[in-house]
Symmetry: C2
């Protein structure tokens, strides 16, 4: 494959840049040849041409000083940098940069757990700290705090928070629980947000907002700075914990279920970020579609019914948990059981009711207690070839919206020959609907079909008022363009901030559709 | 008193500006003479020379179009504008501008309740909507939602949220419950944040973050835009509610009390933003110091004991409430009573235990249920002359920090001849310690003493690592300067954003210590 360079940079210039980079971090931490290391920064499930999101090189600094030196070089030579923490969010592009030829600024070596405070319930970590790292740190010290983990657990605590990802405990909204940042700006200036900018302060990880403008939000899903430290609140180990699941028999039961869930969630009777998972998603952890069916196109209903019977699961499966003193759990449980009992055919299970030790409830029991796992990767085996990208529209928590979204996505998926495979994650007043579009990444025709499907889904969702909260590299521009109220005033604001904070446009060009001036005008 | 003009603007130029303003909003909504209207925009409890924070004029637009027209004029003529919603936060300067001669941009006419949604629990309001307005709107329609109100309730819902104020229900952190904004930028461009920038979206008030950078925080405690619409989440009326108070006998009991409170709060057994109020603050609502004592200097202990006995209150008084189904309230109550029982002399009261209908618990019972009142203004009568400003450091929730802060502030207050009068508002992992510095606003010598005291308090707090979350106009620069880590990198970031979003520096110069370029360099 042809060598890829940053835009408007010659081979010779790039050699000088690499030499300068090596002086900063040493020869071992700059990757510019076609080695396994550099290949690891490519989009693992490339839905478009594999060259499209390829980096020219990567560099792995260890510390703020080295980042400042790298930024200086990048500013001098106009080298686009693509910062990643652990780069493990594979369904959204992994560590690959939006702009081909960017240099990946890989922060994995900055993996120190700087503090875990049991009294107040927080951690201060660097970007390379994975959920596993933090979990192991806490376990080794017998600290009575729980994490909130995404599935899977190898991702970065910082990265997940900056991308505003979700977990499944009562602390499921990661950004809401974030408290204090250290950010290196494009010009190398280092800022601590909130109380952190008072020297010797004692509340950097205790009080989110500080004095004056509250900045943290503009460093999430953005390309305005490189976050090098981040505080996260951790949940005290509750005095009791009881995970459970409720199965629903029919596709259309999602409508009634969400109407049941909304008041329970707004009133915090459902305490955690609960999920409603469809048949395929649940089944995919223990089986694959080829075990049941070798035809093309969506699974026939008869096969779906067989899977439901074999695995004793529903068309939809609600996973949640009780947390707290036994009396409080009992009270919540009674209300929840009574509420779901209105739905004909709904069945309630505790883990002890699920004999198979591979049952998904046994897995979710860990996830909803903040224990990192990699089990969720079973889903990549549902179809052969292991590719998938996630379509993630935000939905009001109503039955009407849930069934409408489900039908919209399912119909288009079926038209394009894909299964529906999805989950609704229940936030406080909205749901993240995640449709996992699984495809064979070695089949160019299927990839093209998947791309066309994704494109249609974005457009139809936007026309109906649903916007995505996050996306794969390939669709960032398209989704950003759906947030176009008042003739794109949000984009104008984003661009003003970009030009002020990164005038040379070296940081993550194109991330979330935000381009620096010199590339913006070309587009 | 001499007429005040904006800096570097002649009388003649200003007349042209006023004429242009009148063309936009009509003659009735521009105030430039020494009328009662214009005087109402002055600092009500001026701690420095009364001219210091005087506006040159005020203008009250009704709608985004008029605001855009005003911004155009202000940009053309370099007129500083000081936006206020209701301008009722008297202890921090009321509606008065930081820069003398600024024109107050009074948004009180924009007082529409645009939507209250009972199903999801939110309201969308304009800046002129007071807590009373929203409460009355909800009551008139029998909507089962509760507000979260500050004391007092005449303030603006939008203004309080933008200043990141606190209330006393489980929704006490107003900014955390804010969802969606419409902002007019200095150049007249109008942005909707989060999902609001997708046309026809259905989740603007349901999902806070949208796609790409999350901007809302930079429009709080800032001068980067004029917020014209704001969404706030409202709490569903709980199935049960029981307010209570616990009295503590000795000053030093604050230490043990906060150690009791921290785990209860982090675990949300204490569900609301509870408060610990000192003797004077509680007593001030029903009596005044002159009723008990006519000497100067702090109240002698014997008098304090008499007040405690007369009013059946403690040296400290903890006010909180139970919310939820009876079984959950009972469970929480048992844990809370057991925990406080460790403190010798602690006494527990429900409202029915407090016979006097003017008892503070009866008042707090309203506030903690989100019912707006003005009762809290009793505190201005504690000393004659009714002036007060609030000193508001953020503190870790530890007994050690509580007693240390209390002693620091009390000692300096006594040295300067003032009583300690304060409250600790218990947030999730920190406390807002609010010291109400009450002074006779008609006594220049006492005002000077109060100023000196405040100055010392800021410096001593900063030296010990405590930063203020908010302040009166007179101390914005000084407090901003305590957030000076890395040679003032936060100020550099604030200035970059200011120059990008408001290059002519017309919006609220000096707010929170952020000055536009042309005034910054002079300082």
């Amino acid at each position: 494959m042809k060598k890829i360079l940053p835009p408007d940079v010659t081979d010779k210039q790039f050699d000088r840049v690499l030499a300068a980079f090596r002086e900063v971090v040493g020869d071992n931490w700059v990757f510019a040849e076609e080695t396994a290391e550099l290949i690891s920064y490519r989009d693992p499930y490339a839905i478009v041409d594999e060259a499209h999101f390829r980096p020219s090189a990567s560099i792995a600094p260890d510390g703020v000083d080295e980042i400042q030196a790298i930024l200086k070089i990048a500013n001098d030579f106009n080298i686009p940098l693509w910062p990643v923490s652990c780069g493990k969010n594979l369904a959204y592009g992994g560590a690959a940069p939006r702009l081909p030829g960017s240099v990946v600024l890989d922060l994995k070596r900055m993996n120190r757990v700087l503090e875990v405070n049991e009294k107040f319930g927080y951690a201060l970590v660097e970007p390379g700290v994975s959920f596993y790292d933090l979990y192991n740190y806490i376990q080794a010290r017998g600290i009575k705090l729980w994490l909130d983990v995404p599935d899977p657990g190898w991702g970065s605590v910082v990265g997940t928070t900056l991308e505003r990802g979700a977990g499944y405990t009562p602390y499921g909204d990661h950004f809401m629980r974030q408290c204090g940042m250290e950010v290196v700006l494009a010009d190398g200036d280092v800022v601590r947000t909130g109380m952190g900018s008072m020297p010797g302060n004692n509340t950097w990880q205790l009080f989110k907002y500080g004095f004056g403008p509250y900045h943290d939000g503009i460093f999430t899903q953005s390309n305005y700075g490189v976050v090098t430290k981040l505080g996260v609140w951790l949940m005290p180990e509750p005095p009791g914990y009881r995970p459970y699941m409720i199965t629903l028999q029919r596709d259309e039961d999602i409508e009634q279920a969400v109407e049941v869930i909304r008041p329970l969630k707004v009133n915090l009777v459902i305490q955690n970020a609960a999920t409603i998972r469809d048949l395929h998603l649940v089944a995919s952890l223990n089986t694959s579609r080829t075990e049941y069916y070798d035809g093309d196109g969506p699974l026939p209903d008869s096969v779906r019914r067989k899977i439901m019977a074999d695995q004793d699961i529903g068309a939809w499966n609600f996973y949640s948990a009780l947390y707290g003193p036994p009396k409080i759990m009992d009270t919540h449980l009674e209300i929840i059981r009574d509420s779901f009992a209105q739905i004909p055919g709904a069945r309630f299970f505790f883990p002890e009711d699920r004999k198979d030790k591979n049952d998904v409830l046994h897995h979710r029991a860990k996830t909803m207690a903040g224990i990192p796992t990699l089990t969720e990767f079973g889903l990549v085996n549902w179809v052969g070839g292991g590719g998938h990208i996630d379509f993630s529209p935000v939905s009001p928590t109503t039955g009407e919206d849930a069934i409408r979204q489900f039908n919209m996505v399912k119909q288009r998926a079926h038209e394009h020959g894909f299964d529906y495979m999805g989950v609704f994650i229940v936030g406080w007043r909205e749901m993240h609907h995640i449709y996992t579009l699984a495809f064979d990444k070695n089949d160019p025709e299927k990839k093209q079909r998947a791309y066309r499907l994704f494109d249609i889904l974005i457009r139809e969702a936007a026309a109906a008022g649903y916007g995505e909260y996050r996306t794969h590299l390939a669709f960032m521009d398209q989704i950003a363009a759906t947030y176009n109220w008042n003739d794109n005033s949000l984009a104008r604001l984003n661009n003003k901030l970009k030009d002020a904070l990164d005038p040379n446009g070296i940081l993550a060009p194109g991330k979330q559709g935000i381009w620096p001036k010199h590339l913006r005008d070309k587009r």
